[in-house]
């Protein structure tokens, strides 16, 4: 199984090496380690020139090009600098720590992938140069809701996951003639039915973006070129579906004709299929075979539970703002002229002014103002901390049956309120034996509504697990500089212990321990008792948590929302 995964990863490297710009690149989901190193070494061997590395905190003038400010000041005349994206034209750029990439950088890279050019206005220079590159995003996300910026990964054809590989799996792949494939690529032809087959397969896998089938089509062409052919065969389409479409799947295609979406269209008449098409290992229609090939690897990719585990956060990574480089101005401070800090020109000039006489003496012949890098002052900005309202919703049988709909309504109301105030909302639901983060911190009303609509109710009350998960999320958010507000909707009657087993006694002990840890963090919390009659258990829990207690029997969504808001602000 894993040897197969490695084989597929190696294949992706070969495919990328043939047409990096056409395919956009590879998302490599793997932690740092021998597997990743082996893969990168392999890619390196396939490429005519070694890939460039793009540090995640790259400044715009290094990325796009611009004025080399320090050199300019030293030389006393404008000195231009070429950016990494232009230098790497025709090659591959490796982006480490892609999961931490800012939305701004992702947007810039996406524009370059779309147009094949760098266009920018930097320090009085207009830049417009070719930059046909492929990207390798090294995505080390540990949690499914971290992950690299979706706007960028969408544009990369190949998604490879390298975790769980053993050293023994890393066998060298069969030798491949990349050079020849590159030369052949331009003349590879595609049979007419290919677009239809890949589009239909994408639809069956729940891939709605139109980029996916297009990238799959390009991949199919590369695969044919790698096999030394000038016509794309059906097997190439199958492999392209496995490489490009399967990793994007959001659902398992139905086994038989039970698919609720459009049934696969009847296969095109085969007369325009090339005569060298010898793929006859199955009598099934081609679409079914392509789909089957993609389906076969879905469980491996974690898609065997209706896509839940792959549900990416709506706001992956973009929420954390460490650099306060915008907001309300709050004076100037010493800074390096690296293009990232926002230069305060007047403060800089003021800093340089007293030294002019001395510096002129040191540098006779220099005209005008002499500014050194130690003069630079950057603007500092003040930025109010972001707040996130975390809802913990008891969806168990005891609390939820009657109230779950109202809790959902309250969350939606809160959300529309929050997004007016630029706050975020997260949602943890607990029922059965565990608590789940069903909505990572987001501002998206749409994402929240979708998640809420499908939230089921019933089962036990794993209160302790919910408290622990909620606290972890709150701590995580605090570390990113956000302020969490907690809203707990429950009747306080936990009956599932931390280890997932039923039993009121152990559940109570675990809940008390979790409540103690919670109280230690000093989280602003409101507990809303959702039972029909106020429960002593819930009131006790509230005091253990250090929370405000609000018994709201028969309260409606609007009331709950108002109560919760009173804490949030």
């Amino acid at each position: 199984m894993t040897a197969v995964a490695w084989h597929r990863a190696a294949r992706a490297a070969a495919i990328l090496a043939v047409d990096p710009a056409g395919l956009g690149g590879v998302v490599l989901q793997a932690r740092a380690g021998p597997a990743r190193e082996a893969w990168l070494a392999l890619l390196n061997a396939y490429l005519p020139a070694p890939p460039r590395r793009l540090p995640p905190e790259i400044a715009d003038d290094r990325l796009l090009g611009g004025l080399d400010l320090t050199a300019t000041l030293q030389a006393g005349r404008p000195v231009g600098a070429t950016g990494l994206l232009v230098e790497a034209d025709g090659g591959v750029i490796v982006v480490p720590m892609a999961e931490r990439m800012s939305a701004g950088l992702a947007g810039r890279l996406a524009a370059v992938l779309d147009t094949g050019r760098v266009r920018a206005e930097r320090a009085g220079q207009r830049i417009d140069s070719a930059s046909r590159v492929g990207l390798v995003l090294l995505d080390e996300a540990a949690e499914p809701d971290e992950g690299a910026q979706a706007a960028l990964t969408e544009r990369l054809a190949l998604h490879v996951r390298l975790d769980d590989l053993a050293m023994a799996d890393l066998s060298p792949p069969a030798s491949t003639d990349i050079e020849q494939a590159r030369e052949r690529l331009a003349s590879v032809r595609v049979p007419r039915h290919a677009a239809k087959v890949l589009t239909a397969s994408a639809a069956m896998l729940g891939v709605s973006s139109m980029r996916a089938p297009l990238l799959a089509l390009r991949a199919a062409r590369v695969i044919a070129a790698l096999s030394g052919r000038r016509m794309v065969r059906d097997t190439d389409l199958e492999e392209a579906a496995v490489m490009v479409l399967a990793p994007r799947a959001t659902r398992m295609p139905a086994e038989d004709g039970q698919e609720d979406a459009q049934p696969p269209p009847p296969p095109e008449p085969q007369d325009d299929t090339p005569s060298d098409n010898t793929s006859t290992r199955s009598d099934a229609p081609l679409e079914d075979r392509v789909l089957e090939a993609a389906r076969a690897i879905l469980p491996e990719l974690g898609l065997d539970d209706g896509g839940k585990s792959r549900a990416r956060g709506a706001d992956s990574g973009s929420g954390a703002v460490q650099h306060a480089d915008h907001g309300r101005p709050a004076g100037s401070a010493k800074a390096k002229p690296d293009g990232r800090a926002r230069l305060d020109v007047l403060a800089t000039l003021r800093e340089a002014a007293p030294w002019q006489t001395l510096r002129r003496r040191e540098m006779p012949g220099r005209q005008g103002l002499i500014v050194k890098s130690e003069d630079f002052r950057a603007r500092r900005f003040f930025r109010p901390a972001e707040s996130v309202v975390i809802f913990l919703v008891d969806a168990s049988g005891s609390a939820a049956a009657a109230r779950l709909a109202e809790a959902k309504g309250a969350v939606e109301l809160m959300l529309s309120e929050a997004y007016r105030r630029r706050e975020k909302v997260a949602l943890i639901a607990f029922r059965g034996s565990s608590a789940d983060l069903i909505l990572p911190p987001t501002r998206s009303l749409l994402a929240a509504k979708r998640q809420l609509a499908v939230l089921p109710g019933g089962g036990g009350t794993p209160l302790a697990a919910a408290l622990i998960d909620g606290r972890h999320l709150a701590i995580q958010l605090r570390r990113r500089g956000a302020t969490p507000y907690m809203v707990l909707l429950t009747d306080g009657r936990g009956n599932i212990a931390l280890d997932g087993t039923p039993g009121r006694q152990q559940a109570l002990i675990d809940t008390q321990a979790a409540a103690k840890a919670w109280a230690y963090e000093g989280l602003t919390t409101v507990l809303i008792d959702t039972a029909n009659r106020p429960q002593p258990a819930a009131a006790e829990l509230a005091s253990a948590l250090g929370a405000r207690y609000l018994p709201l029997p028969r309260a409606d969504a609007k009331l709950i929302s108002q109560a919760a808001r009173a804490t949030g602000t």
């Binding site: 939305a103 920018a120 706007a151 709506a314 480089d325 005008g368």
Partner: protein
Amino acid sequence: MTQPFPFTAIVGQDEMKSSILLAAVDPSIGGVLVFGDRGTGKSTAVRALAALLPPIEVRPDCAYNSRPGEAVPGRAAGAPEDPTIEIPTPVVDLPLGATEDRVVGALDLERALAGGEKVFEPGLLARANRGFLYIDEVNLLEDHLVDLLLDVAASGENVVEREGLSIRHPARFVLVGSGNPEEGELRPQLLDRFGLSVEVGSPKDIEDRVEVIRRRDDYDRAPERFLRKWAAKERAVRRSLLAAQKSVKRVATPDAIIETAARLCAAVGSDGLRGELTLIRAARAAAALDRARTVRQAHLRRVAIPALRHRLRRDPLDETGSAVRIARAIDEVLGPEALKAAAE
């Protein structure tokens, strides 16, 4: 440099295409906001628009694309005019992460540091004057920048008071924003300042989807041939756009239409006059594109959804889409037929 994918070759997405054209006919409509999933051709449509726009006459070497007689910084009033030159209508991309000084313009650093001169270096707003300003992922743009852009777009003038500079220059442009609602929404107060709002999705029909892929693949493989194939259609749209830009001011708007527009806005419960004004202007632009001399109810009907969709008060518990609610209101005011169209 190869030309962008042709506008007319975009499969389906009629509401988006027609809204973009309406905004190009009459800049006072206030631009377009396109919201939708990834890979639905939002950026493609905007980039394709550039090829349809007629050239504009500007003073040579003017950073503000100004026309003769216009006051711009660095040009004394009444100075002799050089003959104008023609340039393509600018379509300027506002990259994410652009800083305020890059957008509005700032002190020319190089000259300030090298020669101690105080010279204004125009920003993106100057380059977008008399053209289009496109912001992809507008919902990820910082709020203060969005505010600033909408202000300038509404006033047509960029006022810079910073770093000891005091500059004002013309900045009339059509704002086109696009974004993906999954990544967070735009605040309502920003939403309603866009003239038209469009929602796009991937084509549902498998045949359409296949056609999208085929055309895109053809374009990628042989751009010149593909562009030649679509040249006639592009020319036709360009001609009708140009004609509409000239005739839109002469299109008559009967009182009955103005009254109907007001009733329509009341029926959907949109706040303020902005909705009404946009509705009428958009209907007038639609009439101009039709080569009609007078606005008719059919034009109102056609533009009502993009003109009002983002001006409804939202109720998070109401699952009914905005388009359906507007279609219902149109039915009430204008009689049925609209509901059918929205359901399709």
